[in-house]
Subunit: 404 residues, 2 copies
C-alpha cells in the first residue's frame, strides 16, 4: 500500500497539483459547475456518480439540530444502495425548517431524473451560510450540464473538489493505493472544525469490493482517529458528513484491517489538509497524549488542550506555556496524577512530575515558530491519542467577525 | 435589601470609587502590600482577618489538577472554623508539586504566627502564572507589616482588592445590605473565565449569623447562577476559589432564602465586573435561554453558545448571526425541537420556527455595537438560564499570545 505524495503541513497545495481524488477509484465520475448560488460566480455545485448503484456508508454530525439534508441522507444511506451524490456550496440549507427538507429532496430529484435512477439512491449535501434556502431552480438548471460533463480524470475530480469549497483556499483531495484497489476522496473545511464532525464534508470512493456493513465499520474507525481528532476552533456544525461509496470495480475484496488502514491514511491526509488551510492559522500543532487508561481518555485530554483558546493563543506566540496545557488537562473530566505529568514542546521536556523543568526558553520558542508537537504523558497506562490543531490568531477573529 | 450602586456593564469602575468590599461587614479587617513577587512592584499580597475564628464555606475549581493551595483549603474549610486568609498574586503556586504544598503551608503559617492562631485556621490562595514557586521568604517578610496595617475602611479593602489582581485592570468589590446585616466582597479575574470556577478568586464576608452548613448551601446556590454562568473564554483554571466567612457581628440571623438572595446579588455584581474587565473584550453579551425541561438544560445550552469562538467573533463584528447560535445550540447535548427555536438579538427576532425571519439587518447590527442580549427560546418547558459572556477580539489573542 503506497500513499500518493502530497505537500506536508504548512505548505499550501498548488492549484495545478494533479490528483484524481474522488475519481481515483474505478467506477466513479465527477463534475463541478457554477450554478449561480455563489455571487462570485465560483464553482458551487458538484456531483459524484457511480456507474451503478453501490454499497455506501456515512458518518454524520452529532448535532441535535442537524440540517435537513443530513436527516435525508441518514435515511437513504440506511436504506442503500447509492448511485450518486450532489453537493452545493454557498448556503448550508440549515435553519430552513420544513422548506429546507423539500429543497433537499428537490435537489436530489433533479439529479435522479437526469440519471434515471430512484430518488432515494441520491445523497444530498449542502455547506455554507446557515439560514438562506438553496435556490433549487438554479441547481436543477445546472444538473443536465453537469451530468453531460461527467469525467474521471484529475481535472474533473478537481472541479468537483472546487465546487464544494466555502472558505477553503485550496481544493482538498487524496488517494491511497491498495493491492489492486484504490480509495480516494475530496473534502472541504477550513473553520468550525472539531471532533464529532464539524463543518466539513468528505466524499470518499473505492473500487474495492465491500458490503455496506464492512464499509460502515471501517469508516467509523477511520474517522475516529482522523477527522474526529481534528480540532481547529471547538465549533461543530449542522451539516458535517463523510460518505464512502464502493463500486467494487477492482474485483478485489481487501481484508477489513487492510481497508480500515487505507481509509485511515486517506482521512488523515484530508484532515491534515484541512488543518493546514484552517482560517487564520499559521501553524499546525499535534497534541500527543499517552499514559492514560485507554485511548478514549487520551482523546478527551487532547481535545481539551486543543479546545483551549489560551493554549492556542500561546501556540501563536511560540510560547511553550505548559501551565496552560496542565490547566486544560485538569478540566477534561479525566482523573490524572499530577505527580506523573510530563509535558514536552517539540521534544523538549518543560514539565516533569507536574512541576517546571529548566530549559533555554528562548531557544525553544524559536523552534515553535513553525509546526510542532506537544507531548503530554499523564501516567503509565496504555492509552494514547493524537489531536491535530492549529494556533489561534488575530486573523481568525477578524475573519469570523465580518458579517456574512 | 438594597444594593450599593455601581457602574453598569461597559463602564470601567474608576479607581477612586470608594467601596468597603471585603470589610463592609463588621468583624473583618484587611490589608494589601507589595511583597516583591510582582517584578513591577505592584501590590501582590493581601490578607483578610476576622476578629475571631468564624464559620466559613467555599467553592473550588472542579479541575482534577488543582493547585496545592486549593487542596489545602479544601481540608481546612471542611474542618473549620476560619480566622483569616492570605492571598498572593503574580504566581499561582500551581504545577509546583510537593514543594508547592510546603510553600502553601508556610505562607499560611506566617500569618497564623502573626495572629497567634492555629495554622489550620488560615486559608491560602494564589493566582498568577502556573509553574513558578511562591517566594515564601518575601511573603513571610511582608506579613508582620500587613498585620500591623489591618483596617476596615474602604482604602484598606481596596488595597486588599488590588493585591489579588493579575491581568485585571481595576479592583472588583461589591456589597449588599440586608436588614441589619451586610455581605460584601472582592474578586479578581479577567481571563480564563468559565463555568465551574475559572481563574477567578472571590472572597466574601458577612456579619450575619449563620452556620458553616447554611453558608455552604447558600454559597453553592449563589455561585451556580452567577460565577458559574460567566463564560469569557471557555478556559478553567487550577486555582479558582470562592470563600465566604461569617463573623456574626451583626447579631442578626437572616432566613436562608434572604441570605441566598443577598449572596446571589453580590456574586452577580462581582461576576459582571469580571465580564466588563475581560481581556480584550469590547462588549458584554447576556445569553438568555428558556423553554427547556429544566434550568440545567438551559444552562448547558447557554454555555455552549458562549463557548463558541465563531459566535463570539460574530458578536465582535455586531453580526446577528443566528445560524452560528443555532449550530452551537445543536451540539450542547440537549435535545431541542428545531421547529420551536426562536432566536432574538437585542429583542429583534431573527429566527422563528428554526428558520430565518426578515429584518433590517443593518439597523439591528448598529444596535449590537455595545452590550446586548441574545434570547434563545427552544421549546415550551419551564427551564431557563442566563449566561454572561463577551465578544472575542483580536486583542484577546494578541494579549494571550505574548510570552509570560
Amino acid at each position: 500500500m503506497t500513499a500518493v505524495d502530497h505537500p506536508g503541513p504548512g505548505v499550501n497545495i498548488p492549484d495545478a497539483f494533479a490528483r484524481s481524488g474522488v475519481t481515483a477509484a474505478r467506477g466513479f465520475r465527477a463534475a463541478g459547475a457554477a450554478s449561480g448560488i455563489k455571487p462570485t460566480g465560483a464553482l458551487d455545485l458538484s456531483v459524484v456518480v457511480a456507474d451503478a448503484a453501490c454499497p455506501a456508508a456515512a458518518v454524520f454530525t452529532t448535532s441535535l439540530a442537524p440540517a435537513p439534508p443530513v436527516e435525508l441522507d441518514r435515511q437513504r444511506v440506511e436504506a442503500g444502495p447509492i448511485r450518486a451524490l450532489i453537493v452545493n456550496s454557498g448556503v448550508a440549507n440549515a435553519g430552513t425548517g420544513a422548506a429546507g427538507t423539500a429543497d433537499a429532496r428537490a435537489m436530489g430529484a433533479s439529479l435522479a431524473g437526469a440519471l434515471a435512477c430512484p430518488d432515494d439512491q441520491v445523497l444530498v449535501c449542502s455547506t455554507g451560510v446557515i439560514g438562506p434556502r438553496v435556490p433549487v431552480e438554479r441547481v436543477s438548471a445546472a444538473v443536465p450540464g453537469l451530468v453531460a460533463a461527467l469525467g474521471s480524470d484529475p481535472d474533473h475530480a478537481t472541479a468537483a473538489a472546487r465546487g464544494i469549497m466555502t472558505t477553503d483556499s485550496v481544493p482538498k483531495q487524496a488517494e491511497v493505493h491498495g493491492d489492486g484497489w484504490v480509495v480516494g476522496g475530496m473534502a472541504k473545511g477550513a473553520g468550525m472544525l472539531r471532533p464529532d464532525m464539524a463543518t466539513m464534508l468528505a466524499f470518499l470512493t473505492t473500487d474495492a469490493v465491500a458490503s455496506a456493513d464492512v464499509l460502515g465499520a471501517a469508516l467509523r474507525r477511520a474517522t475516529a482517529s482522523t477527522f474526529n481528532c481534528l480540532n481547529v476552533d471547538g465549533c461543530q456544525s449542522t451539516n458535517d458528513t463523510v460518505i464512502l461509496m464502493a463500486s467494487g470495480a477492482s474485483g478485489v475484496e481487501p481484508g477489513t484491517q487492510e481497508l480500515e488502514d487505507a481509509l485511515t491514511r486517506l482521512c488523515a491526509d484530508l484532515a491534515l489538509q484541512m488543518a493546514v488551510d484552517a482560517e487564520g492559522a499559521t501553524k499546525v500543532v499535534h497534541i500527543e497524549v499517552d499514559g492514560t487508561a485507554d485511548d478514549d481518555a487520551a482523546r478527551r485530554l487532547g481535545r481539551q488542550v486543543a479546545d483551549s483558546a489560551l493554549v492556542r493563543s500561546a501556540f501563536h506566540g511560540s510560547d511553550p506555556n505548559w501551565g496552560r496545557v496542565l490547566a486544560a488537562l485538569g478540566v477534561a473530566g479525566v482523573a490524572i496524577d499530577q505527580a506523573a505529568v510530563e509535558i514536552a514542546f517539540d521534544g523538549t521536556v518543560v514539565c516533569r512530575h507536574g512541576a517546571a523543568v529548566d530549559c533555554d526558553e528562548d531557544e525553544l520558542s524559536a523552534r515553535l515558530a513553525g509546526d510542532f508537537t506537544v507531548t503530554c504523558t499523564v501516567g503509565a497506562g496504555p492509552g494514547s491519542a493524537v489531536i491535530v490543531t492549529t494556533d489561534l490568531t488575530p486573523d481568525y477573529v477578524v475573519f469570523n467577525s465580518e458579517r456574512s
